[in-house]
Amino acid sequence: MKRILIIDDDSAICEMLSYFLSSKGYAVETRNNAVDIESVLEDGNIDLLINDILMPDKDGLEVLMELKGRFDSVPIISISGGLPGNGYDPLRAARHLGAAKTFGKPIDLNELLDGIREVLGEK
């Protein structure tokens, strides 16, 4: 069973995604912030990281930059409710920083599931 870590400051989203992905046969762990993300990844059990971009304590893009080069084996899917504007598109930025896939909120769960499968090489 593949293990997915979801980081989103919005508990409702974490809960919903956890419910959905669990029903699709994944082992899901959720966190509301990315503060101790490295220690969790160091345990080595995580196969995929789904992270939110706009978070109060630690921004999703910061997470991407931190993990790049150190945990390249763990693919990342970034999600965000922020929309492009002022020459800045958070999801595009995430892709540049190494996110394998990006999805804007609200997320189409079917698209998300396709993306996860693609990234995990299950497709």
Binding site: E15, M16, P84, G85, N86, G87, P106
Partner: protein, 936 residues
Amino acid sequence: MRHILSCFLVVIFFGVCAVSAEVNSEKGVSETVVNYDYNDSSIKVRVGFFNMPPISFINENGLPDGLNIDLLNHIAEENSWELEYVFGNFLECFNRLQSGEIDLIAALAYRPERKGLVSFSRESVFVLHGQLYVRADGVLWGVEDLQGRKIGIVKGDVAGTHFKQMLSESNVSCEFVEFDDYESTFSAVASMEVDAGVVIHTYGLNKADDFNLIETHINFISSTACFATKFGDDLNLLSEIDEQLLFWKHHSDSFYFDMVEKWLIKSHHKHHNLAFLKPLIFCFVVLLALAAIGFVLVIVLRHMVKVRTHELERQFKIKKAIIDGFPGYFASIKNGSIVLWNDCFCDFSKVDPKDFKDTEFKDLFSENSDEIADFINTCLENGQASIDVELFNHSLGRRVPLLVSGKRVEIDGEAYVISVSIDITRQRKIEEILHRLSTIVYVADELITIVGKDRKIIYVNPAFEKKTGFSSEELVGQFAEKFRNRDQDMSIFSDIWETLESGKIIKCCHKNIKKNGMNYIVEATYSPVLDMKGNVEYYVTVQRDISEQILADQKLKESQKLESVSVVAGGVAHELNNMLTPIMGYSQILMDDADLPDRFKVLIKKINSATLLSRDLIASLVKFSRLSGSEMESFDLNDFILNNDKMMRKLCPSNLKVELSLEKVPMPILGDQSDIEQVLTNLLMNAKDAMPNGGTISLSTKLLKSDDLEKTRHYLKEGFDYIQLSFRDTGCGIEKENLELIFDPFYTTKQFDRVIGMGLPTVHRIVHKFDGSISVDSVVGEGTCFNIVLPLDRSMVVEKTVVEQSDEKKCNCDQEIWFVEDDDLIREMMTNALIKNGFSVCSFESAKDCSEFSLANRSAPKLLITDMEFKESDFNGYMLAEFMLQQSAECKVIFISGYDRGAMSENELVKSNALFLKKPFGISGLLSAISAQLNV
């Protein structure tokens, strides 16, 4: 002088009066004698008398006069006689007495031989004797010298008789000439008719001087003078006379002696002396008068001289005070040297003022001495001159600017230059301030006018001329009211004038008119300028063109509504999306749940679509709100439309036809390309919705020159060129009442589940962000046309031929470069760079897209620039290059890749036409590769 003359005349007048009064008073004496008052007398006595002054004679008034006459008159008065005088010569008197015509002879010499003929008074009045007179230049003769001379005597005269007798006794014979009276005798002597004349000596004493005769030593006894009557007659007359005479002679203070003294002593001397003294006295009086006049004149003149001297001294002092107190430097120059100067002139020299004399004037002006020398010469030649110089003032311790004026004057035939120098420091400062002030007015951007009390323009500044297009000459002298726009409420101007005339300042806004007939709105401040008395002299108006500001305000107002919406949307978008996520997620989970009954699934699906619509709304609101932050760049609108032609066609269903009609001139505009893309997309979507059954979309561009009347519809900035983009559809059109609402956010005529009503507001906002304007014309059933006017970026206008647009396919074929790159950032960046460098570029996200486009248009580019590998696809850059070369063998290729070229195609054709460019590369690297491939 006039006063002196009149004084002199007065003095002369009084002198003359004094003299004539004296003469008159002498006359008065004789007149009192003449005015003899006869008393009534019972006895009438006729008295004969002959001329024998001073005994008896006719005086100058024709009246009887003389010693005997006076005595007789007195006696007659005493005795109440009425006297009647009968004048005649001696013989006539004698004969008249004999004939009884007269009663009495007033004076007759006593002669013994006359005793039988007349009766003499016993008492004589005085003794008579004869005397011989000759001319004053004659010789004093002895009796013997008379021999043969002509001697004048009076006929029957007793003196003559005695003289004849004496000569005959002396045996001297003479020729005698007889005259009627003594006067004729003297006259004859004086006129040399005779040599000498015999008269009674009393007569001679009186008259000799009158005839310029002198008495000789020859005199002879005659007799006494008595009153006489006819012999024996009127003896009582004689006795009365005798009695009176005797009485008088016994009294030394009697009338008789008074008369004797008067006639024979005093009178004689007086008469004689008076005659002699009169001219002397007259001369003396005249001299005295003259002396008095002279004296008075001397006093008057001395006084006048004193007054005049005082006046001159005073004037001199005043003039000196003026010169010394004059706030300038005064010098009198002769032959170039200073001869006179005022006190303050010494400020300019350390030299002792006394030493100024004969200093060369020009030497004071060491630096400008040549100019000063010229100045003096000019004064002497032309009469006057002036010059500006600077001079060090020792008193002030600084250099002062001076205006030196000179005037030539002649004094006693010598030429002087009077020089007055004035310190013009203050004037200079004032000039400087004035210059600065006028510069402000001159260069000010505000429109400044000066208007007279008659409301006519006196002055306008250059900004006014520039703004209105009128020249100063056209404006000055015209009524200010002439340059107002007549379409506005003109009562504002009567208010303005009323306020100004009361001396108050007024601020207001109104419309003015330019020479070309266009309007401009000004914010004006009208200020009255008052004179010293507080009366209005003229008005100053400062106006500022606020047309653009008003335009900006209008735009602001229009966008405020949108702004508020967008600000809210931008701020909450993230939160809304987050909240929508579980809604959408759970609804999808439920929909997928096989256990859920279908009737619930239908409901869940509705939740899901509403969520999707909410997501789109949020996305469009965010787009709308974030327009302002995009980057500005210059790009050609025509090129942009051509580049996006594909995108537009993609959006259109097959039943819609797109027509392009682009004006073949460069149309650079400044802004964000994605903004224009949004405009086109939104308009296209709008048109598509308006034409559900198909139709035509016409897109045209047109250049609007600054004077194009088309602009007036849009109220745009002056002096700028604009581009008009017209987007016309043949759809259902818009109802007239809805036209005003179409740009309001969330307004839509379409069904709720299809559109969210932010399309046109976004277009509107973008257009205004470009400083442009949008208008819409629509006819229901025929179609709608949006006219978008955008300002031309003048800085980027370059001569560039625009590709012929008649064949819409060709436009794509003619893109010089096709750029294929899956990385959005790299593609956009490079595409923009190439466009900026003058290339026509068409860009693609993948090789697949590019090949499909080529097939669809049966075209190939001149140059293909492509990435080697594409994500999500096996169709790589090599394959694309091979494909493109099949389409056109002329096509050149540039490969770009992060990898080494090791894996390059073995295809010879590709090899010979391709270049390899390794990432990362700069713009310059790409440009040099392009120029190598295209030989440009």
